[in-house]
């Protein structure tokens, strides 16, 4: 008795879906909207949290360097459209021409670095503990850049009172 009821209910649902799928589908934008929504969630929230290097086009050097400590102020620097682009782990982007950085861009960069340092100092004061990597900048520099392209970043670090910095390198796998 119960089997018959379930069977008829199943048939009824199948017939309903058959009928519905024969009609023009007004729900067609929804798969696309789901895809777009997933991209927004993944790119905006989940993926940058996994790895700050996402979105950076810096192709860095490979060396047998000591491993990096987590939690540093990460900055990716690479050439793009005839200029230099700097991207932070929070996806802030600073751009300048290869000939030199404008005072406005430099000021914005220095302000960003100062805000990162002050944020770390406040959290260190609140937790009564300090973390050395958090006041260290790590520069992921593209291999095609020359030293003159990096000098403005070093000056910005000095202006933001960051005295320790490192160049990131891809580890050599043994």
């Amino acid at each position: 008795m119960i089997d018959n009821e379930l069977g008829s209910l199943f048939k009824e649902r199948v017939l309903f879906f058959q009928e519905r799928l024969k009609k023009p589908s007004p729900w067609y934008p929804y798969p696309a909207l789901i895809s777009v929504g997933l991209i927004m969630v993944l790119s905006g929230q989940l993926l940058p949290g996994l790895n700050p290097r996402l979105g950076s086009r810096a192709n860095i050097i490979q060396l047998d360097a000591p491993p990096e400590m987590e939690g540093s102020i990460w900055l990716g620097i690479y050439p793009r459209k005839g200029g230099i682009t700097l991207i932070t782990s929070e996806k802030n982007i600073f751009k300048w021409a290869t000939s030199g950085i404008s005072p406005q861009t430099k000021k914005r960069l220095v302000n960003y670095l100062k805000s990162r340092v002050s944020r770390e100092n406040i959290s260190a004061a609140l937790t009564l503990s300090t973390s050395l990597p958090k006041v260290r900048a790590v520069l992921a520099v593209d291999q095609t850049l020359k030293y003159q392209n990096i000098v403005p970043v070093l000056h910005a670090l000095a202006d933001a009172r960051i005295s320790k910095y490192s160049f990131e390198a891809r580890l050599v796998k043994n």
Partner: protein, 175 residues
Amino acid sequence: MRKRLSDGPWHPRALNISIIGLLLILSFVFRVTYISGSYGVVDSEIPLVKVEVKDPQANAQKERARSYIKKITPVVVMTEEEFIFTDLNGITKELDDPRLRFSIPHLEGSPNIPELLKTMAKWNHRRVSTKKFSADGTLILLPSSQIPMPIVIQTIHYLKKAEFISQVVLASGLT
């Protein structure tokens, strides 16, 4: 042959947007799996000016410098043709005296870092033993502005492997 349940065709625009969206998601996923979680670092430092801050508290904390930049601090100038090494005195106060500076030409365009370190080690040993001072391991690297960054990073990395160098200060560069 299976019969399609739906007669309603998918809107081509929706199909295209869905495929592009799926490809974008896949590219993110591939990028996440491709990016390594661990990286290496080559450290450098920006020198600080020491400013004494009076601490009125009973347990006054004093910050002590690990090392100082002095006139005897070694300097390596890196040009597109050669390394020139000397001490800070040799490129400032006694710039006129060529005997204070030593040149290591690049080997077929590549920086000859092993030769630089070998020669610098001898030079450092001689000046430490004759002038009776203790080297604190600080070195100033002054690259030319046109030197590619991979070479600058590699030079810092290999300079720090020398026994008598513990930290490298990158100077603003030659123009």
